[in-house]
Symmetry: C2
Subunit: 695 residues, 2 copies
């Protein structure tokens, strides 16, 4: 039996829509496939003209369960494609590709939580084919028809009609991972002073001329993760939780899912533009990964790192030669296993990048000293980089972090912040682009730990990360202005999803501490007029030049903050001075997957029981639309409310990446540059050893 996974569309079978819907939601057979014939990309998908993608066809034959058939999928299925209104052709003719080989597999899933508890799996046999690296050039509506077992599934696809005229030379895309409007409001409150209701300064984001909202939901679930949402932002295609740059299919192989070309790949292939990738996460994390990776499992960290430098080599795919800069944490996927890392093919990826022409730096001093002319890899910590609060206020926490990028258990005490990394990225990209006929650049800069700290309910650290992002935006705008590139650069700031966070008043921590009764402690909370003004500003000694951060992180009156959902935990609404919070823990004697209030966390507080499954030791993502701030050439189309995929189409429009006819040399220039260099052509078959997906 194949991999066990958990999908089923809301509409299980055409003939039994209503009853199936009612019983398939927590798990889905394959979210994008309500019938038994599956086309990926599925119905209702948009494409950039000329964007490369793969097609996966699957015919499902459930063996048991509510959809049971004879268990034999039709292996003689056919697939035709055509513009709506034109005659359809077999896909091989339409795309000019060879007929792919038939693949078969099986997988199993659970119809609901009762089946899961009882381990009553439903098994599905599958017949499948995949067409690799095709494209649609002519704008308009297309129709793909999968015929099987005397029935058929139709997918309508739309190629958007976008200008090919480039408006922006450069794009600087900032992503505040997990950042919502609510969090921006809270960060403003603790870092910018008010007098009589007037802010004396505001966030850099607040000054952007154009504001939009994007809807973050997945293709098959209304809550997304960062892999899936990054895929939407970078490719114009929504996908499934944990998927990077692919539509998730039902096969066990996490590297054979149908791919879609990303904004980085398109920008490089079509314009020869330069790409930079910056994140405060371990660099194999989803948001940076989705620029070059194509896998249904974001947990394939080693392969992700390989894709940064080599692109995709297991199938015919687009050109890619590596970013000009790659800055972040995550040495654990660079140090060879002999030094404690876990790398793709057990290689030393510092060496792999050096062999590919990269200089390598491992701390801020080296970063600042590095040449602006050379490609640069900067890996500054073993895993996720240390938060702004610990690097700048509670600096003792840097000691004993054992987080150095040599994976030797030393402390990474000289880490750059997001601002250091982003400004250096701009310098290098600008220098190298200028030396390359002013080809222009695309930089993605991610404040990853807004999300990571919100997950662990560490409000202070999360808001510190958000303020560091805002400070980076401000500094980047000033720096681009100095370089004379501001007017050539489209700057977009957005998020990939939210957390259900908000501020609802203040807390008199002195009063809270003075009482033992949990109900008395709650009376320390001051809503409405009792919230008063922010005491984080101008009430302490910390100063940061022209950057706006709180001057006092532990005033008597703190913010009362909370989430729509949380694990069991305790709240005392005080900054966690000894390092990031651990709200919930497993307790000896209980099942490993069950979590309770951490007895060591927020000891002076009162207990808040959780609203999440007890297997969650941290918070989860939420539904809310997230903001998009835009300034620069092409900004005007970023206003209003739209889908996350539109961020991709808007950026592609600004860069003029739409191509309504194939490049003349197309068949000779892809997939060859690095394909044989390291002797591997299929990730999974050789190396299917990466762990389960992370969130």
């Amino acid at each position: 039996m194949g991999k066990l996974h958990f999908p089923l569309s809301a509409v299980a079978a055409a003939a039994a829509v209503l009853c199936s819907v009612a019983s398939a939601q927590t798990f889905q057979r394959l979210g994008t496939c309500p019938t038994l014939g599956c086309i990926l990309p599925p119905d209702q998908q948009d494409f950039l003209a000329g964007q490369y993608f793969d097609i996966r066809l699957e015919v499902h034959a459930p063996v048991n369960g509510s959809e049971a058939t004879d268990g034999r999928p039709d292996e003689n299925f056919t697939f035709t494609v055509g513009k709506v209104g034109d005659s359809a052709q077999p896909a091989t003719e339409f795309f000019g590709v060879d007929e792919p080989e038939l693949e078969t597999w099986d997988f199993s899933w659970y119809e609901d939580l009762f089946a899961y508890d009882d381990d009553r799996a439903s098994v599905v046999n599958v017949a499948s084919k995949a067409y690799r690296r095709v494209a649609l050039y002519e704008p308009g509506e297309y129709e793909g028809v999968l015929s099987y077992n005397g029935t058929s599934t139709t997918a309508y696809w739309r190629v958007r009609d976008l200008s090919e005229t480039r408006k922006a030379k450069n794009v600087l895309l900032f992503i505040g991972d997990g950042m919502t409007t609510n969090m921006i409001t809270a960060a403003r409150l603790i870092a910018h002073k008010q007098i009589n209701g007037r802010y004396q300064s505001t966030m850099a984001m607040d000054k952007f001329p154009v504001l939009g909202h994007q809807m973050t939901h997945s293709i098959d679930s209304f809550i997304t993760d960062s892999a899936n949402s990054a895929t939407a932002l970078y490719t114009g295609h929504k996908s499934t939780v944990n998927a990077l740059g692919v539509y998730r299919d039902s096969s066990e192989d996490t590297f054979d899912d149908p791919k879609v070309e990303t904004i980085a790949e398109l920008f490089y292939r079509i314009t020869g533009g330069h790409v930079g990738i910056v994140s405060t996460a371990y660099i194999a994390d989803a948001t940076p990964a989705a620029l070059t990776s194509h896998t249904s499992d974001r947990g394939e960290y080693g392969a992700v790192v390989d894709s940064f430098v080599h692109g995709i080599v297991n199938y015919t795919w687009t050109e890619w030669s590596g970013p000009d800069v790659l800055f972040g944490g995550g040495a654990e996927q660079f140090c060879p296993p002999s030094q404690g890392g876990e790398t793709y093919m057990d290689l030393n990826y510092y060496d792999v990048f050096r062999d590919a022409g990269y200089s390598v730096v491992s701390n801020n001093t080296e970063l600042q000293a590095a040449s602006d002319s050379d490609r640069l890899l900067g890996i500054f910590t073993t895993s996720t980089m240390t938060t702004w609060l610990d690097r700048n206020v509670y600096t003792d926490n840097l000691e004993g972090s054992e987080n150095s990028p040599d994976c030797q258990g030393n402390d990474a005490t000289d880490q750059p912040g997001l601002k250091n990394m982003t400004l250096k990225a701009i310098d290098i990209l600008q220098t190298r682009s200028s030396a390359d006929d002013d080809a222009g650049w695309f930089i993605m800069s991610e404040a990853a730990s807004v999300d990571k700290q919100m997950h662990i309910l560490d409000y202070d650290r999360a808001l510190g990360e958000l303020l560091e992002l805002d400070d980076t935006i401000k500094a980047s705008i000033n720096h681009l202005r100095e370089l004379g590139e501001l007017e050539n650069t489209l700057i977009v700031v957005t998020a990939d999803h939210g957390h259900g966070f908000d501020v609802f008043g203040n807390v008199d921590t002195k009063y809270l501490n003075a009482h033992d009764d949990p109900r008395k402690k709650r009376n320390a909370v001051g809503p409405y007029e009792r919230s008063g003004l922010s005491q984080y500003i101008n009430t302490g000694d910390l100063r940061y030049g022209d950057s706006n951060f709180p001057s006092n992180w532990s005033p008597r009156y703190t913010l009362a903050e909370g989430f729509g959902a949380n694990p069991d935990h305790r709240e005392n609404y005080r900054v966690h001075k000894n390092g990031p919070r651990l709200p919930a823990v497993n307790i000896s004697g209980f099942p490993e997957e069950e979590f309770f209030v951490n007895p060591e966390d927020a000891k002076s507080g009162f207990i808040v029981n959780g609203t999440l499954p007890v297997s969650y030791d941290q918070g989860v993502h939420s539904l809310t639309d997230v903001p998009v701030f835009a300034m620069g050439p092409g900004q005007e189309i970023f206003g209003g409310v739209y889908s996350s995929i539109d961020v991709f189409y808007h950026i592609a429009t600004a860069l003029g990446l739409s191509r309504t006819s194939p490049p003349e040399t197309e068949t000779n220039n892809w997939g060859k540059k690095y394909g044989s260099k390291f002797g591997y052509h299929h990730y999974t078959e050789q190396n299917p050893r990466y762990g389960p997906p992370a969130q």
Copy 2:
């Protein structure tokens, strides 16, 4: 001793900034007055050129507490005004008004919660004067200096330099009370169908071309209420919780606080335009009230209703002759006491309105039949109107509501919805404006129970109200298009504050119900990929023509929803079919002001302990910036992030209400129309009997 109230600025005295800040937050002496000399409007306030306002000066002499003085306020204080850079003049000369009489009073407050628990009040003696109905015409910066006790307080005021050219003939302002981006996202999810990540329809709000965010904080606390926030939206002046159209002073009199002219008053006085007021709340509630009321206590409901028809008559003030339409609930302020109402001066306000030329209707049938040519009062329920969900789905709940507008305890079974009221308001305003030289109109239409239902954690009813608002917006746009007025009308949709609401997954209610262990019940929650698709759409029988509402409010898989803050309550994530929820109650034997889980609510659920003071039986407002959607003439300035007061300035700009010189007839045409008709000139002294402020 005077009234006991609870303010003190973040900066208690100029000489002791840091130490005072640390100890004064929950309560404030007077939030807008950090020193002992108070100018209202205080420092940093903006004005529309020609906007009428009052000035209140106070000199404080604390008798005891951390700021103790000799307790004798300087009664010989002086006040000068001038443009910055010009020579200052005494206020009497500058504004051409008589020197007002000196007033004195005292008040007391608590320095913190410890003082409150111990009843250790701080007493302040006050000397004060008030200048009534002045205006600043010339754009620029002004400086007001209050000199007292050998020291002084300075207020810098700014008159904005705005065009006097009118762009919009009409303004339609929709307010979703308490509505956030998070709630819009959730409402979209339950009312609009998705296929493979593409919405098949979207909200009317989603289609607006311009999006902004407004910061909702108060002048003296970071969390606002609806009175204060409506004041900011309508006057361009932020104020204090519970205040309507005034800056709150420290006197006991809730009708002597310094006023600011509202958008409705300005529009009528300057252009002769027609005003309409529509709300699903009792009509004396804060959001409608703030258009014509001026009091520091929103709880003065009777006086609020009087102000709708008569405007302000206790002091010299602006012209006002009543709105063309006033539609909503709240008969309790119209029925005379003999019929169970509680009205201003014990009058029958149906009669008062009839005497002022209004027709009166009391149900939807009468509303639809009413002439479009006459001024119309429509009061449809005793108090707040019934929710969309109860009027359209769980209609049994209309029976026994005893909510009829005759205050006789009958059921109001023929209530109009927000759409009915708003479309009728448009028809009447359009007819009357057309007959009056096309003077144009301003309509405020409020979906009040988004807020009211969110307060009681009734997610379903709150989202129903939000969807009704959206449906009203859609229908209004279509109707204006039919009338040929769409291109003449600026439509603005916004909120006054938020609640910390979000959706974090789905809930398998069947699984939740099947378990008794609260921790097992929590495992019914499905985050991320387990959230699946919305089952509220196309899974039931309810249909609403071209309006988008859920077709099934009780699917097996519901939304997992929550707040950042809540009272003790229980969650089962199911619609409350028997009427609005009551999450927390007082329990016999405990103090009256202490609330616990309601044993009768959500019985199948699990308990979630509260994070609010135990005196709260419902949720509270939150900090988040709220969205602003704009379309029509003047829309272009509504993009980006700004203060709530900018909504006023943007609307005033679209209507061209700025006036840089006084009207020639000014001294002869204000405050006279209704001032003596009922023989009262000072609300409070005659009638200080209204209860404490509501929230």
